[in-house]
Symmetry: C2
Subunit: 457 residues, 2 copies
């Protein structure tokens, strides 16, 4: 650990890995390090992932010290095929690496393996480790149970600060990085925590029962990871305990897992809003991306076709006033953009966790008000343009009314649809945008065409 070069931030960007000298028979290394051992596991993970050939990747993982290799695997992502790499390393090296990992990281890695490979790897592990990991594998991947580690430091509520420090010293050799000491009773039920800092600062004779603070929050093994992230962010927690039935302490989740969760959930939200499924990860190959995006685009083709289908009933009108073919997409586009604004604000409010505030549906009212005013201004601008361009005040009126209506509907739908989905327990980001833009297309086309029929014909 101690030989790693601390990267200064901002520092010179590492050279593109494409320019890496690929040694013969040895692993490829960027020329700014003398050996992988100098690098941080996160950086080695990137390096390994960027290598083109699996044999080069395996070469690095085989030649690195065991602890560093296991840290590197822990820092790699599922879509960088780390589980396949672990399988390919063989069960001897593989289990050696797994044993170095924290139990939650080991369970994550094994969870990504093919069932056969996983069973083979588990069978090769010492029984105790295998049982621990099997326990963790029972929990859903995106739950608190799936995130937690059972490695923690706990002391009895009856001890003194001095005893507790001795106990921490004993247990601490087994546990990497800990920031709080959990206090439990004789049946392992959580009583609270003592920050490590308080324990050091305290008088050694002080009773732990005096120092203990009730946990600011606890989560259950089946709590959704998004909720875990929200709670830890909200209460600034460096670690949160996971308790089972009767308040028994099962494990804990630390801040670094939560930063990963927040990033993953955010990525998911942004991609879902754009209609990219969460299965398509950022590093997916192009064929995978086609497979994942095509269903969504096909759905879009159907909805866009249905919305525009209304135009087919007005072909005579359009033959007479071709100018309408210019108006319709503009009115529809402005509705779509207004809807997207309302949608983004609402989805973000929900993600950050305002949804229990008194403002459940107040935001819908606000978006309608915003639409009323924005729609009036934009409708008037475009209406005046249409009037001057075609010299017909009635056409200006058609544009004003169509644009105005569509923008109000867009604000309403953009705020209401995700709020309703959330209320119904569904993910507010899913499919919201296709609902909203289909609706604004439809309203835009219908308003232009029906108003034109009524006022111009």
């Amino acid at each position: 650990m101690s030989a790693r070069r601390p990267p200064e931030i901002p520092g010179p960007a590492p050279p593109a890995a494409a320019a890496l000298p690929v040694g013969e028979g040895t692993a490829a290394l960027p020329d700014w390090v003398e050996s992988v051992e100098e690098m941080h596991p996160s950086d080695i993970a990137d390096l390994v992932a960027s290598l083109g050939s699996v044999s080069q990747q395996l070469e690095i993982l085989r030649t690195m010290p065991t602890e560093l290799a296991s840290d590197t695997l822990a820092e790699m992502e599922e879509w960088e095929d780390r589980a396949e790499l672990l399988s390919a390393l063989g069960s001897r090296r593989g289990t050696a690496l797994l044993q170095e990992l924290a139990d939650d990281d080991a369970a994550d890695l094994l969870g990504e393996m093919e069932p056969d490979d996983r069973d083979r790897m588990l069978a090769a592990l010492p029984t105790e480790d295998a049982v621990e990991i099997r326990d963790l594998l029972r929990y859903g991947e995106e739950t608190a149970g799936g995130l937690m580690t059972t490695a923690l430091v706990s002391v009895s509520t009856g001890s003194s600060a001095g005893d507790a420090i001795a106990e921490v010293r004993r247990q601490g050799r087994e546990v990497e990085d800990f920031y709080a000491v959990f206090v439990v009773d004789d049946r392992n039920r959580l009583q609270g925590t003592v920050p490590l800092a308080d324990l050091i600062v305290a008088d050694p004779d002080e009773a732990v029962a005096v120092l203990v603070e009730p946990a600011v929050a606890v989560v259950h093994p089946d709590t959704d990871q998004e909720e875990v992230g929200r709670v830890m962010g909200r209460y600034n927690l460096v670690t949160v305990p996971v308790v089972g039935g009767g308040g028994v302490l099962l494990g804990h989740i630390t801040f670094d897992d939560v930063i990963d969760v927040i990033e993953a959930e955010t990525t998911e939200d942004i991609l879902k809003l754009a209609g990219v499924s969460e299965e398509e990860e950022l590093k997916a190959g192009w064929l995978e991306s086609v497979r994942s995006r095509l269903p969504w685009l096909t759905l879009n083709l159907v909805t866009a076709g249905l919305a525009a289908g209304v135009i087919l009933s007005f072909e005579d009108l359009i033959s007479e006033i071709a100018f309408l073919a210019f108006l319709m997409p503009v009115v529809a586009a402005l509705g779509g953009n207004t809807g997207t604004q309302a949608l983004a604000v609402t989805i973000r409010r929900i993600a950050i966790g305002y949804e229990w505030r008194p403002s459940h549906f107040r935001v819908v009212g606000k978006e309608v008000l915003v639409g009323l005013l924005n729609g009036l201004v934009l409708g008037a601008l475009f209406g005046v343009f249409a009037y001057f361009y075609q010299g017909d005040p009635r056409l200006g009126l058609v544009v004003l009314l169509a644009m105005w209506t569509n923008i109000i509907v867009a604000g309403f739908a953009g705020a209401m649809i995700p709020t309703l989905l959330n209320r119904l327990g569904a993910d507010p980001a899913v499919a919201s945008s296709v609902f909203v833009t289909t609706l604004t297309d439809l309203v835009g086309f219908v308003m232009v065409l029906s108003l034109a029929t009524a006022l111009l014909m």
Copy 2:
């Protein structure tokens, strides 16, 4: 602190604040707590923010214990007008609250005040505190200097673990929550850190120089907060030191600040993608939202109008084949959706920090490939429909080619525009979506109309 009820998550949702009993003369409290003192400052902050009247808000802040009131202010958001509340509390209560705060939180609060109010408040503070806060106020709000606290625990590189613990005990009484001990030389230059856990576990006679680990990363006071978040997330850091010229330790930034930064930057990205400016916060009133969104929508009106403007040159063609008025918005919509998918994936890649990977422009190539295949499938589907609906195979060909081209262009533009903006040092999210959808509208209209002219007339 010790009387706070630990919220169980998931637990019963707190009742809507609208239903709060508003005491006469006393602050309003939800009926599920006996007094505010039982609540977590984050929850009190929400409660205060949800109260309708400023006098009720001030009432709560005046009657709460000083430490809890200052924690509450620290947990409130800028757009909840916390600086105005602090000013309204008057300089005696105001400075009492400020003195309880960590220096970074105090500086943030003062930074949000009107200059006159700020100067008055600073003048009322003890000189030492005022100097410290003035120092912090010099740094930009969104930089490492603006995030850091100068309150930290440091020991000399020459001491033993036992001496260090004694020193930590002494300094620790002044510093809330610390997770690492910084090691400095006699000129306060950072030598590295010792995790608190290691210090406790170590033999008291062991030299700190042996335990010290070089900092995994350091940041400078002017490092952008987004970069700080990226570094801490990447290397799983609970705290990162901020160093000035010569490596002198100035302060540090802890994980809780970074979770806030990641959330703020994410919100900014999502909203910007949707064309909501970062000035419009989630809690903005409706008139503020109108003012912030209208310029963007007006720009959109101009660009959508210009893109659709091409239709004006083809009025004769449309009068003859009104079916084209149906085709155009569908072809444009599918281009827009494809572009948005490519945009979201690319912007997210950049945000998470892949941009130094060898794949700078490789992602553009991937999106073009994806567009090639998706465009062919969707173009063929819609082309066949058009052929059967109108009975003209040439029309089917027009649709196929227009859709195909537009979707390829969309994939290219959606990936290329943010990549280029990022390369030029600009924010990749800004205005990307208006560029992309304007382009796909234009290409969609032009392709349908020009192919129709060439093949059908």
